[in-house]
């Protein structure tokens, strides 16, 4: 049986004066971890605001778990079921970690005792041990990010909206945060909408992805399907004499290219033509080490989705795996 989508949007339009933030969003977010990708100004934050009922749509409607944030009562009901981790620092100095989380728990509707118990439980979960009794002024970026995750979890919400959870984290902190998000989504069965600039973060933690470009959904689907094997391209490796094998393939009417790491990428008219590569190898005396269909990366899928959009500046699109690796490598 197909599960009811956790978030449903129909014809969602939002204008801020002359600026069109959303231009008709239609999407069904399945349960489980979902990544929300898009260049800066694509409308991701507006989308989150609409889901929380903080911003009212110009047209269309969005629903969370069947609730439409139209009336005040609905907005209140929705916010009880949603946990939001904002991108900005947003933590008040002067409070301790446990005070902040328990206070926000009480504001959500937990009793005093429950709020304190839950605060300790979620702070344990995010591994803020004795630091929970320290004033927030002394927290590192990693601790602040984990605290923000803890406050989003304190009332055990049905849906978690995580806005750039790995923002500003060092590689170790980032790994830790991703492991928490992955655990929540994959092991604890939490519904997560993860907004991130980092495609590898989404690839690691989410099962589905939605790409928003210029206020429209450019692409959505499961990562497995979107990056499914492109059977027209195969990766071939031979034991030795790769250059000669390349010439032999060209002579057979194929167009091989050197793969970024090792071997050749061969574009074949049909998947069945992979047999032709084997025949060329056998007839010319080359020993094939491997022949695999090439899978698209999320990066390629994303670039394909935003193709045609005016993404001129590097900073205005999500960070690609190669760029991200250059930053995070020690």
């Amino acid at each position: 049986m197909t599960q009811e989508p956790i978030v449903r949007m129909r014809g969602l339009v939002k204008h801020f004066g002359d600026v069109q933030a959303l231009r008709g969003i239609d999407m069904d977010l399945p349960r489980g971890p979902v990544g929300l990708l898009g260049p800066n100004g694509a409308g991701k934050t507006t989308l989150i605001g609409l889901l929380l009922g903080l911003v009212e749509p110009t047209e269309g409607e969005a629903s969370i778990a069947g609730l439409v944030p139209k009336s005040r009562a609905d907005r209140i009901a929705i916010r009880k079921r949603v946990g939001y981790m904002p991108e900005s620092d947003c933590l008040l100095p002067g409070m301790t970690g446990v005070e902040l989380v328990s206070t926000l728990g009480k504001l959500t509707g937990l009793s005093r005792e429950d709020a304190m118990t839950r605060a300790h439980e979620v702070l344990d979960y995010v591994e803020l041990e004795e630091a929970r009794y320290r004033p927030l002024d002394g927290y590192s970026t990693g601790m602040k990010q984990r605290l923000k995750l803890a406050q989003a979890l304190v009332h055990d919400p049905e849906l978690l909206l995580l806005d750039e959870p790995t923002n500003g984290l060092d590689p170790k902190g980032r790994r830790h945060m991703l492991s928490l998000v992955e655990d929540l989504g994959r092991n604890q069965g939490k519904n997560i909408l993860l907004c991130s600039h980092l495609l590898p973060d989404v690839e690691k933690t989410c099962d589905h992805v939605v790409v928003v470009v210029k206020g429209r959904v450019a692409l959505q689907g499961s990562i497995a399907e979107l990056t499914a094997a492109d059977e027209a391209r195969v990766h071939v490796e031979v034991e030795e004499r790769q250059d000669e094998f390349e010439i032999a393939l060209r002579a057979a009417g194929m167009s091989p290219e050197k793969a970024p790491t090792k071997g050749l990428i061969v574009t074949v008219p049909d998947a069945d033509d992979a047999d032709a590569i084997c025949e060329v190898a056998a007839s010319s005396g080359f020993h094939l080490r491997g022949i695999d269909p090439v899978r698209s990366t999320l990066e390629q899928v994303f670039l394909k989705a935003v193709d045609g959009a005016d993404v001129s500046a590097t900073g205005s699109r999500p960070m690609l795996a190669s760029e991200e690796a250059a930053i995070t490598s020690p």
């Binding site: 934050t45 605001g49 929380l52 903080l54 911003v55 005040r72 907005r75 209140i76 009901a77 916010r79 009880k80 949603v82 946990g83 939001y84 904002p86 900005s88 620092d89 947003c90 933590l91 008040l92 100095p93 002067g94 409070m95 005070e99 206070t103 926000l104 009480k106 504001l107 959500t108 509707g109 937990l110 009793s111 429950d114 839950r118 439980e121 344990d124 979960y125 995010v126 591994e127 406050q151 979890l153 009332h155 055990d156 909206l161 830790h176 492991s179 928490l180 992955e182 655990d183 929540l184 092991n187 604890q188």
Partner: protein
């Protein structure tokens, strides 16, 4: 089940969320707790009101002692004269309380400004509004919570001294007569103090909501206060019209106190209604500013 990727386990919440929790009270109390951490400002801001309160308590005690029949109807003429003199000089308890309020009002505004100026400005600067409004919190609840925090400090600076003086008066009066016969005066004094605190609380929050930082809000509060007080006095002298003094918040409160406690200094010739209108306009403007600003904050701006 233990999570594979890290050491701690996520525990789902099995309880229920309350339907009508006192969210404004929670928010107000969290603000008060943060304020309690700042001990040095508390010492500096409340020590003068505390000393003034203790002195007033002594004066109230002496006033009632002077009414003692042993003195007023006694055989020592010097004691009789002294008793009558003290009664004449010190007057009624409410007069002494109003004198106390005049002495400490600058410190009360300072205390409320110190603890209240950052309440909305810092929330917005740090974008803590995103944390609050992502929860089932209405703008009204947020506003009441913040007002509760700032009024708590105002109550500490004004309401508690009045209660202390009233208690001393009750103990010192013969047969608890002050409490039993003149209790409406205690209620009136507290109501007057609360009105004072509420208006200043709204003013502090309204200024805080339009400022980027706490220090700006504090400066803005004192700028407003000094400008309206000094400005109104200067304008009334230049143009020789008392109507200008309606701009001053302390002048309006003085006029209200004259009506509430039944005495007249003769220096404020305008009507009580005019003062109420003047203060009402300030309240209206403050609430309107807060409404607009909290609306912006709710929508994440």
């Amino acid at each position: 089940m233990k999570a594979a990727t890290h050491t701690e386990v996520y525990r789902p919440f099995r309880g229920e969320l309350k339907t009508f929790p006192l969210r404004a009270l929670t928010l107000a109390w969290s603000g008060v707790r943060i304020g309690f951490r700042k001990k040095l400002p508390a010492l500096l801001l409340f020590v003068i009101p505390a000393i003034a309160t203790i002195v007033t308590c002594f004066l109230v005690q002496i006033t009632f002692e002077a009414q003692n029949p042993d003195i007023t109807q006694g055989t020592i003429p010097q004691a009789k004269i002294l008793g009558a003199l003290l009664q004449e000089q010190l007057g009624k308890v409410e007069i002494q309380v109003l004198a106390l309020l005049r002495q400490i009002k600058a410190f009360v505004v300072l205390a409320m400004g110190w603890y209240g100026s950052g309440l909305i400005a810092e929330d917005r600067r740090l974008r803590a509004n995103l944390l609050y409004f992502a929860r089932p919190l209405t703008r009204w609840t947020y506003f009441l919570g913040k007002l509760g925090t700032v009024c708590f400090w105002g109550f500490c600076a004004v309401g508690i001294p009045i209660l202390m003086v009233s208690s001393v008066a009750s103990f010192a009066s013969p047969n608890w007569s002050f409490l039993l016969e003149r209790w409406p005066v205690i209620v009136k004094m507290e109501a007057y103090a609360m009105m004072w605190v509420l208006l200043h609380g709204l003013l502090v929050l309204a200024i805080s909501s339009v400022c980027e930082r706490r220090n700006q809000a504090l400066a803005g509060l004192f700028g407003f206060y000094i400008l309206t007080s000094i400005g109104s006095t200067a304008m009334s002298r230049i143009f020789d019209g008392s109507a200008w003094r309606l701009v001053s918040i302390p002048e309006n409160f003085e006029r209200i106190s004259e009506s509430m406690f039944g005495f007249s200094s003769g220096t404020r010739p305008w009507s009580l209604e005019a003062s109420l209108w003047a203060l009402g306009i300030i309240v209206f403007v403050c609430v309107a500013i807060l409404q607009v600003q909290t609306r912006k904050m709710e929508s994440g701006r």
